[in-house]
Amino acid sequence: MSWETVIGLEIHVQLSTDSKLFSGGSTSFGAEPNTHVDLIDLGLPGVLPVANRGAFHKAIRFGLATNAKINQTSTFDRKNYFYPDLPKGYQITQMALPIVGKGSIKIEVDGEEKIINITRAHLEEDAGKSIHDLFDGETGVDLNRAGTPLLEIVSEPEIANAREAVAYFKAIRQIVTFLDICDGNMAQGSMRCDVNVSVKKSDDTELGTRAEIKNINSFKFIEKAINFEIDRQIRILESGDSVVQETRLYDSVKNETRSMRSKEEANDYRYFPCPDLLPVVISDNELKEIKDNLPELPDEKEKRYVEELNLDLSEAKIIASSKTMASMFEGACAKTNDSKLVANWLVGDISALLNKENIDIDESNLTSDNFAKLIERISDKTISGKIAKSVLEEIWETSNDVDEIIESKGLVQIQDESLLETIAQTVIDNNPSQVDAFKGGKDKLFGFFVGQVMKETQGKANPQSVNKILKRLLS
């Protein structure tokens, strides 16, 4: 009898609002400890929260993009527990009536598509950070993050393995970045997830006892933690023991999960409606405006690229899957007509450079203006594709203007066929033995002659013309 895994993810997405969920405090990352904390974030006696409508709008965008039910009236609850980085002794969250109800998202693993249902997505405030390693024998508290808006996205337990979990996480990340509601920066903790894992016998109808692994913030660790946990649970079950319902932590150094607290030790959060906040009501007009301004999502882009711009499906997929890539593509296409050439360069040479340096396209020196110009110069035959590669490399290094690079380096393509013919004739005259061999049937030597002409012209010769002329002269 084989084992079957059931996984559910709770993903915490930090919404990219300027101010916090219930205060005017700044949400920017990396400031000195406790400098982005206002009276409300500190939970001073007498302060009151005011809900940030911008956070609601961002949550609604997510809901609309995942075909979810939007609850136009949603409420806040308090989740009570003591922790030093939780200033009020409770977290304000949406338990009873979240802003986003049931929705779904499509994932793809090995070319197979699967729909993962999303139970709900609710707004809540983040806690601060406890700093255990800075002071000897003491713990520091940094409340900069306290009150930052989070959207907690809860999946149905429909994920079958670690790879699906990663694909689901990536799909969520793609959507939130496309919607511009989160920067997707996992290293800074803008996206984190809790993973619920259980295993059961394939023919069991009931779910097994689950363990929750808290606070994982990289694709790699999600995969490793889940795989470790599946093995651990199967080992326990096969030895005849039972899995304990508990919260576990993933240790990336040892690659193992460790018990944090069991169900018996779990907090009773004593949820109740937050009496400081009235229900938030989203009007029909407000909802319509958000709907009307929803950006185009990867699937829609992919479809449009293929149908309207004649891109190959594989190219369209690559470009549409990344927000920055798509925006570079669309920016360049707006300034040049040859969208297929734009796509070729993006998927080919540019992706290669990006991969080599392991950066995102918006971190490179390439602008859509300069990129469009490069494509134009190829289309109008000012430069050859080969020269274009060196121009691209120059842009990569210096971000100089395409035309300036071409001019200053004298890279304009030689189109003058009589000049090219003279050069080709000289090459032929200087290499009699190769000419004899070619004529004797060594067809492959044709490339040698092209290469020589290119060498003589420092690569500036129009390759089509060179081919044509050489064919004529060598026949």
Partner: protein, 483 residues
């Protein structure tokens, strides 16, 4: 000319006629505070700044409607740079970096906040015996409680030290001490006055209001205290009328409801007699009485003692020794920090309510207690809604009797909780309600409660003012107060 027992209206006249300077008024106020120190009405005095402000007003007069009027602020309102303890050891070192909206509103009108008044710890109590800073004496008798939780506020006004004080009322904390000290107090509609800067006890019930010598002064104060505040989403975005406008309009034909379910036969004869006399007086003013039924009203006290502790247990979680307020000495670990800080910082009554609140919110009990209480609360509100279809205001005694002796209810929390029997329903329903002095029993004052419809404070104040211009109960003063 003495300023003691003067109303705001009288002090304004004295100031306008230059019978007294702003500085003299404030200095005399502090001398009254000092000569009556044994009343223990104040936790913290703001003498230096108050005198500076008064001097400034003498140099450069202000047009504010309350310019130069000394006011005592309940020590539950945050006051910038002035210690705010909420009557608790937990906040014995807490100096807020900001002021409550209601404090700002009063100061913007020219009021001088002369100090912070004593109160039951975190506003939990009906006798002012739970204050960490000692009991407050009722000016009407050394061994009498002033009521609570705004006991210091009511005592300071009753002793004639200040003409007005701010208070808060979660289950009767303005009206009950007003009744026991023989002064006038009003709790407006929930949401009329911003809660920003009020240290929360039970957020859905807490409402600030004034305590003063007359309904007229209460109206003047309310004009300044009420405001829509974007910092408090439960603050009402409704027009704020001039509450003084209709004070003198006669109350012919005013329909007054008497609650059938308030069984007055259980009260002392004297209390009933005082109440009946007030009814007769209102009849003489042209009012008519109609018996109304509030079928669920008997559930008010138990409902309140689920909702209020539940909210308090959560609101008081922030007092953990980590960021502000008291922290215990050298805790061994985090858990001990919490346990010791909270054990030392909170008094028994606060602990009792945190325990009740944590219990009623806990998994498995939430539906049976908190959820059920919220449902009953809705029913009580509906009862009032139907009642106000046939009456303009509702009248009852404010308290079951006059001030009781210190310590007489100390061992029995239930007896103490019943103190608020008549006052709690208005908090649960969010309705405006006030207490005005209407009699004296054994040399102890007692008050009459008027409950109004949603946002109908003006009519309450009008009914109260009509009573006060034709009676003198509000002018009675205790004996033995030092001048």
């Amino acid at each position: 000319m003495s300023i003691q027992y003067k109303s705001i209206a009288e002090l304004k006249t004295m100031l306008n006629n230059n019978e007294i300077s702003n500085a003299e008024l404030i200095k005399e106020t502090f001398s009254l505070v000092k000569s009556n120190a044994e009343i223990n009405a104040f936790i913290t005095l703001n003498d230096e700044e108050s005198i500076n402000k008064a001097n400034k007003l003498d140099d450069c007069p202000s047009s504010g409607s309350l310019a130069g009027i000394p006011i005592a602020q309940k020590d539950l309102f945050c006051t910038k740079d002035l210690k705010t303890t909420c009557g608790s050891n937990m906040l014995s070192n807490f100096i807020p970096p900001y002021s409550a909206t209601v404090v700002k509103n009063l100061e913007n009108a020219g009021c001088i906040s002369i100090g912070k008044t004593n109160m039951d710890e975190f506003a939990m109590g009906s006798s002012n015996e739970t204050s960490f800073y000692g009991k407050v004496q009722n000016p009407w008798g050394k061994n009498l409680v002033p009521g609570g939780s705004s006991g210091g506020a009511a005592a300071a006004v009753a002793a004639g030290i200040v003409p007005a004080a701010s208070g808060t009322d979660t289950g009767g904390s303005i009206r009950q001490p007003a009744s026991l000290c023989g002064v006038t107090g009003i709790k407006p509609t929930y949401g009329r006055i911003s809660r920003w800067g009020m240290i929360a006890f039970a957020s859905s019930l807490d409402q600030a209001g004034p305590i003063a010598r007359t309904a007229e002064d209460c109206a003047t104060l309310l004009n300044e205290m009420c405001s829509h505040d974007e910092k408090d989403t439960t603050s009402l975005n409704e027009d704020i009328p001039d509450f003084t406008e209709n004070l003198n309009s006669p109350i012919n034909g005013l329909k007054i409801g008497i609650v059938k379910e308030f069984d007055l036969s259980k009260l002392d004869n004297e209390v009933v007699k005082v109440f009946e006399e007030s009814k007769k007086h209102y009849e003489s003013l042209g009012a008519e009485f109609i018996e109304i039924s509030l079928p669920n009203i008997s559930l008010s006290v138990p409902t309140y003692y689920v909702v209020a502790p539940a909210e308090c247990s959560s609101n008081l979680s922030r007092f953990d020794g980590v960021k502000f307020g008291k922290r215990c000495e050298s805790p061994k670990n985090l858990e001990e920090l919490y346990i010791k800080t909270r054990s030392e910082g909170f008094g028994d009554e606060v602990k009792r309510r945190i325990l009740i609140g944590s219990y009623v919110l806990s998994a498995g009990f939430y539906d049976a207690y908190y959820k059920k209480a919220q449902q009953v609360r809705r029913l009580i509100k509906n009862d009032f809604d139907s009642a106000f279809k046939s009456v303009d205001i509702i009248m009852s005694p404010t308290t079951r009797g006059p001030a009781f002796e210190v310590g007489s209810k100390g061992d029995d929390p239930i007896q103490m909780y019943l103190e608020d029997l008549f006052t709690i329903p208005a908090n649960l329903a969010g309705l405006p309600a006030m207490s005005i002095p209407n009699g004296i029993i054994d040399n102890k004052p007692i008050g009459l409660q008027l409950i109004g419809n949603f946002l109908d404070e003006s009519r309450l104040l009008q009914a109260a003012h009509n009573f006060q211009i034709s009676t003198d109960w509000h002018l009675k003063t205790p004996t033995g107060i030092k001048s």
